[in-house]
């Protein structure tokens, strides 16, 4: 072919700028393609540079051609690129401004039109009819088709420029997008100056300096690319990828409660496909998920944080889902849609509950441990008090014996002196009081040892009553006894149990200094309901169904103030006047009962006075008699 014949060409300086422009433009196009790899914008921009490159490349050879036919061929070849310049720019503009949805059809139509133009130019002389010979070389001569072609060409170019202009005006000044649209607007305005190249196509010897604005355009675009890139990675750009990459289920509902958008995580949570969800009411996702009322409330609130929902899911059990939602509004601030983000917190909830339970257990254990520790300390303290008492008892009791004998001695000697006699009587009382304290401590320290035998509790109480008969008579107390016949025997230390009853009866007597009624009852009971210290566990003192022997001692005294009821068993706690009680009687009593694995309870009677209830296990094999 003659176009490949070097003899048809002569080196022309006028071809140099266009050749350089070709290289620059293509380098820019390839650079953008590399940087914006896989981006439609990058690809389209490459098309722009390619179209310009073809134009400039063909014109370089056209300027070097020495004959009109060769020049014409190159002039026509240039139109493999030129008609595509406006459509590529238009496409690029739409891509950068993200107006695909609106101009998609126009873009395709423009590409087809440009392709048709290119085909017409290459195959006919309707557009490029021939060449002119100017002082800078050959140049295309336009035919009659140039008129509609140029209208199309400039129409598209002006439309693209306008899109940039409108976008730039609507963009908030100072933002990246504003800078970007401004730079692109300037760059494209400049490149359009290349349109003056058309003038020479109508026979006017106007030097086609189009390569200059093209070079400026290249530099400006390179700058835009460098500083702002062509496109931000915005939610709009990556929306679909982002929402589908999200770990949390997302759902967008319109005002009517219809699902509009769901992501993959949402589909997985509800076990449904996108098709089954989108376009359906929210109940399609799950019947328990957001009722119309909930949705209405949501729309009112604007946003909701961590609203927990229980969603029964067969066969996976109930899932606990935390919902955060916000209302999307249109330009008039009218609610448009509700964006719901869900978090499956089932495992977290379970872990929290476990943690809470563990914490509760730990707290309880800690309390029990603390209480046990305190009891141990108390026990150890009392143990040492007891040991100390036993140790010092002898050393204290001997001097007390001396004092008491001294009192007796002096009493004989000062016969008739009333005051002195009174002093001596008080001294003797003081000695007895000191002695009773020591005896109480000794009882406390020795109460661990039991000599157990099967005993009749009625008999033990009778024996104790004998010991306190004198006190009963002196205080004018009426005694009411009600013994249960055929009471099962109890396995107890007789002496210790006598001590228990003496202590309790003495307390009752002391509570009724002006007389009253002392009622003592014994009975048998089969434990039926679980209560304090009654249960089925191994460590419970009594078990349901077990037969027990119960003794109740009631007085008609003033009772015990409620606030002291819990303290009555504390060592050295007493409500009696000074000198009347050691504060050890009930402590020792309780200790003895506990050593017998029994129970003791002290309560105020509704009708006044105190009731002490002792519960002891019936000797094995005897309970069924009752």
């Amino acid at each position: 072919m003659f176009v490949f014949d070097p003899g048809q060409y002569a080196l022309s300086l006028y071809a140099l700028p266009t050749a350089v422009t070709t290289v620059l433009v293509l380098v820019l196009g390839i650079a953008v393609l590399a940087q914006e790899w896989r981006s439609p914008v990058g690809l389209v921009f490459f098309c722009v540079t390619l179209a310009i490159g073809i134009w400039q490349f063909a014109f370089s050879f056209m300027y070097c051609a020495t004959t009109p036919p060769v020049a014409l061929q190159w002039a026509k070849l240039a139109y493999l690129g030129v008609p595509f310049i406006p459509v590529a720019i238009f496409h690029f503009t739409v891509a950068v401004l993200r107006r695909y949805a609106r101009y998609q059809r126009a873009i395709w139509l423009a590409w087809i039109t440009s392709a048709a133009c290119a085909a017409a130019i290459l195959n006919t002389d309707l557009l490029v009819a021939g060449v002119y010979r100017y002082w800078w070389g050959y140049y295309p001569r336009y035919g009659w088709l140039s008129a509609p072609y140029l209208i199309y060409f400039f129409g598209l170019m002006i439309f693209s420029l306008r899109l940039f202009w409108v976008e730039h005006r609507q963009t908030i000044p100072g933002t990246t997008h504003w800078h970007r649209t401004r730079a692109l607007l300037i760059a494209f305005s400049i490149v359009y100056l290349g349109s003056f190249d058309y003038v020479a196509k109508y026979g006017v010897a106007f030097y086609p300096f189009g390569y200059i604005p093209v070079c400026v355009f290249v530099v400006l675009l390179a700058r835009v690319l460098w500083r702002y890139r062509f496109v931000d990675i915005t939610p709009e750009l990556a929306a679909k990828q982002i929402i589908n990459t999200m770990v949390n289920p997302l759902m967008v509902l319109d005002r009517e409660g219809l699902i509009r958008i769901v992501n993959t995580a949402s589909c997985q949570l509800f076990g449904k496909s996108e098709v089954e969800l989108v376009g359906h009411p929210v109940a399609a996702a799950h019947p328990a998920f957001l009722s119309p009322d909930d949705l209405h409330a949501l729309l009112k609130q604007d946003r909701v944080h961590d609203y927990e929902l229980m969603l029964p899911m067969t066969p996976h059990g109930t899932r606990v889902v935390s919902l955060s939602a916000s209302v999307m509004r249109d330009q008039r601030q009218e609610p448009m849609a509700t964006v719901c983000i869900l978090t499956d917190v089932t495992e977290r909830k379970r872990a929290e509950q476990e943690l809470q339970r563990a914490h509760g257990d730990l707290t309880q254990s800690h309390e029990e441990l603390k209480s046990a520790h305190l009891q141990l300390i108390q026990a150890a303290k009392m143990e040492s008090v007891g040991r100390l008492a036993a140790g010092v008892a002898h050393e204290v009791k001997n001097p007390l014996a001396v004092i008491l004998q001294g009192v007796d001695y002096l009493s004989r000697r000062i016969n008739g002196d009333g005051d002195a006699t009174l002093v001596l009587r008080h001294t003797a009382d003081a000695v007895r009081r000191a002695d009773s304290v020591i005896r109480g401590l000794l009882d406390f320290s020795t109460s661990r040892e039991l000599e157990l035998s099967a005993e009749d509790l009625n008999n033990i109480v009778e024996q104790a009553l004998l010991l306190v008969k004198h006190e009963l008579d002196r205080s004018h107390i009426t005694l009411l006894k009600r013994w249960s016949e055929r009471l099962p025997r109890v396995y107890v230390d007789r002496h210790k149990m006598e001590q228990v009853f003496v202590n309790l009866i003495m307390n009752a007597i002391q509570a009724m200094p002006a007389g009253g009624t002392l009622a003592i009852r014994t009975s048998t009971k089969r434990l039926t309901a679980a209560g304090h210290d009654v249960g089925q566990r191994g460590e419970d003192r009594f078990k349901v169904g077990e037969t027990v022997v119960v003794a109740e001692i009631e007085d008609t005294g003033p009772g015990i103030p409620e606030k002291f009821l819990e303290k009555v068993f504390d060592p050295f706690f007493t409500t009696k006047p000074t000198g009347k009680g050691t504060g050890l009687g009930l402590t020792v009593t309780k200790k003895i009962i506990e050593l017998h694995e029994g129970m003791i309870g002290v309560e105020n009677r509704a009708e006044g006075g105190v009731r002490v209830t002792l519960t002891l296990k019936a000797k094995a094999g005897q309970g069924d008699e009752q």
């Binding site: 036993a390 008892a393 002898h394 050393e395 204290v396 009791k397 001997n398 007390l400 014996a401 001396v402 004092i403 008491l404 004998q405 001294g406 007796d408 001695y409 004989r412 003797a428 000695v431 007895r432 002695d435 020591i438 005896r439 000794l442 320290s445 020795t446 040892e449």
Partner: protein, 149 residues
């Protein structure tokens, strides 16, 4: 011969023994001999030949219960009535088992309690004498009750 009962009081507490002796003798019914050294108790008993011995349990040189065994073992003193006087009231004390079933007066003890106890034993001794039972046959000679209140 005086019809006063002869009491031997063996206790290391000197003042106590002096006061108790004075208080008992003031009744005019008893002659009390005091021995403050437990280890000399046996010799004192042999020499004094008491009707009854009031014996302390915890003494620095001898244990009262051991002394009682020695007294019981002595041919001259066999069947002697012994009343223990003790400040030891713990069942965990080493003497506890030896004292079980014996007549024990717990210190501090009032004179009237001692007298009541002595009277009871004296009456028993007199009853036994009247019935012609030899004192040596009175086994056991000590009362089985415990006087401690």
């Amino acid at each position: 011969m005086s019809n006063k009962r002869r009491i031997l009081l063996i206790d290391d507490e000197e003042i106590f023994t002096q006061l108790l002796k004075a208080n008992l003798e003031a009744t005019g019914r008893y002659t009390v001999q005091v021995e403050n050294q437990g280890s000399l108790g046996l010799a004192a008993a042999r020499a004094f030949a008491p009707d009854l011995i009031l014996l302390d349990v915890v003494m620095p040189d001898i244990d009262g219960t051991q002394l009682a065994m020695a007294l019981q073992a002595d041919p001259k003193l066999q069947g002697m009535s012994i009343v223990y006087l003790t400040a030891v009231a713990s069942s965990r004390s080493p003497q506890a088992s030896a004292l079980r079933g014996q007549t024990v007066l717990a210190k501090p003890v009032a004179t009237e309690e001692v007298l009541a106890c002595l009277e009871r034993i004296t009456r028993k001794l007199e009853r036994d004498a009247d019935s012609g039972v030899l004192s040596s046959e009175m086994a056991p000679s000590v009362e089985l009750t415990q006087e401690e209140g």
